[in-house]
Amino acid sequence: MEILVCVKRVPDSAENEIVMNSAGNDIERDDLVYSVNEWDNYAVEEAIQIVEKVGGTVTVVTVGDADADEILRREMAMGAEKGLLLQDDAFEGSDCKGIATALKGAVEKGKYDLIFTGAQADEGAGAVGGMLAAMLDLPYASLVNKIELGDGKLTIGREIEGGNREMNEISMPCVLSIQTGINEPRYVGIRGIRKVSGVEIPVMSAGDLGVDAGSVGAAGAKVKKIDYFVPEKGEGAEMLEGSTEEIIDKLIEILKANGGL
């Protein structure tokens, strides 16, 4: 089984105090610690588990700058065999379609039975998986939280509203966006880290991928972020302030006072 997992480098929400920048149009990025998007990590774990069962290769791919190398290396230390960095100034400022376009180029350079994305990213629109499938004209399932292997097809579980799950049959090759909770991602150990220490991760540009530079990046983006802000407090809303412990105490008081506990 040849599996490509699309991953993204995002600010680590466990490590950062996210604050607005002075222009008020983005978060302050100067001092951020980055890591692999949590949903993508589940997708990589699922791919590794499938390959451990039936053989094959897991390749992780990302669109990003040179720093994005670190998350590919991390996922390779976890167990993915190959990494691929899609890096080009032309990709900068891409919307979801631009990212999907670059990824499509990478998919077409290989031969994959399965393509995974995370269901969403910490700072994204949850759209890349679906767009990629449409561009490749492949079957697609979103919010996948269970995968059973079959002959040329898969039985997959999808998380749907109300905590319910539906089961679907889907033929391969296909694109799946993976939901958290599908597995328990393994931790990276030292042996894995040592294994990838000297690995050179190939880099592909827009040209290498056969992607028209005008169709990606800021120039090709049809969706543009025009503002970024913390919503104003609405009527009836109360923002709890103080230390975590104090906020918890206040919350419990409110729940008790209103019959929630």
């Binding site: 100067d30 670190e70 290396r73 991390r74 393994r186 931790y187 103080g242 230390s243």
Partner: protein, 600 residues
Amino acid sequence: MAQLIADRRDIDFVLHEQLNVEELSKNEKFEAFNRKTVDMVVSEARNLAVKEMLPTWKEGDEVGCTFNAGQVIIPESFKRLFGLFNDGEWLAMNEDPEWGGQGMPRSVSSAASEYFNGANYPFMMYPGLTHGAGKLVEEFGTDEQKHLFLKNLYTGKWTGTMLLTEPCAGSDVGALETTATKNADGTYSISGSKIFISGGEHEMAENIIHPVLARIEGAPAGTKGISLFLVPKYRVNADGSLGAFNDVVCTGIEHKMGIHGNATCSLTLGGKGECVGTLLGEENKGMKAMFVMMNEARLLVGMQGFSCATTAYMYAVNYAKERIQGPNLTKPAGGGVPIIQHPDVRRQLLIMKSYVEAMRSLLYFIGYCNDVIAITEDAAIKDKYQGFIEILTPVAKGYVTDRSFEVCNHAIQVYGGYGFVEEYPVAQLMRDCRITMIYEGTNGIQAMDLLGRKLGMNKGKVFMDLMVEIQKVIKESKAHESLAPFTANVEAALNKLGETAMHMGKTAMSDKVMNAFAFAHPFLEVTGDVVMAWMLLWRGTIAASKLSDAKKKDLPFYEGQLKSLEYFTCNVLPVTLGKMDVIKATNGAVVDISEDSFIG
């Protein structure tokens, strides 16, 4: 969310800006540990520590260990954690890959160790002692012993302990009464009782390997007649499979002030005459072998204490930024402000910050000394760096754990009343930290080690090498005019330490030897203060050189380095000079007072 356990920026500073550990990867031995690898090691250690270890720390304290009819139950969550820890192969980070180790530089593993111990050091004692037992097998074991035990220890399949203490043989190990009787097949029958055995019994691993100090029948009295034996809980057959129970019986566990998650056991060996061990190393050379383990264990204890300190500091800073109490003194009508704005809270936080940073640099530097020894072919360099390790070990254990407890104490004070409440983490940190001042040789013994063994080692050359090394940093710092007052204070303290050491050396060799040792601990304190000042000046010199070109995000960090240096050299070192005056005066009250005069 705020950082937990340690300031990652500061760890990166020590590894990459102070020690330049990436340079080590130019040597074949450490070639895998380039910058990217080092950073990933630290990140993944932190990941495991924060996500898996830290959540089990409080449970370990509250649930603790229980004893029932010879069986010890440790916190349930530790078993899963031990599996994850072993899956990641974190137990023998520095050791030879041939035996299940990972060949990592010690400077780098210090960072991982800080995260792990900061998250849950009572748990980390299980793998820590296992590693120590493995190290003994690696250093002194026969090929057969290595093949039977080593890989299983280094991979955490089995755990290990250290059996020294007996009811009448605590600090005086030479008084032990456990006996070993040679059998016809070359093995020894072991008989005796041991106490205070960390991780002495549990069901977390399928076997427990006990290195045991015992006296072979007819051997000389005292430490010269002690031998070291390898005694498994279950005997190990020649093919590596487990055999019969080896008559190592747990008779109880201690109920302690802290580290509740770690079982402190009393063990009876050979109560039924069926405990068999094999000699590890040579007969009557057990203490020499055990010192290999004890030196490593002392550095580990320094790391344990320090990890409590860094964790406590992080909690305290975060709390002080969030806790709103009272107006700013200069704006009395301004309403409540975060307590970090209050001068006395800031004072305590800066004391904590200075110590934590300097102690981190010291512990990592000792790791780095091991790395230099591992890669250099130059015997003189090897000797010099080995000397640094020798003379800094009592500082890293004795001084660091004393100061770490002090840092935990400050953290409680910053929390105020909540600090005294067990619902908040700092109370447990202080309780857990307390034992680090006692075990692996009390801090009084560390002070005696510094004065009695290390100060005069190689006719004083080791101490002189240390002075020269500190002078190098002083010389570099003199290039920065802005550091001049701080540099001058460090230089004055170093010079006076040299005089104090000379005085102590002479006094210890005179008929006032008792007086000298009455001042051993104060001497350890002033030595530690100067070592802290050395580390802070080293850091400050780097910060000063980078300040003008620093990125916006790095500016507060480098400025913070300079403030730590300023605080320590202007507020702590002057007191250190006074303490040195006291030592040089060597007042005799401690020695002269009669036992009858202590209570009227």
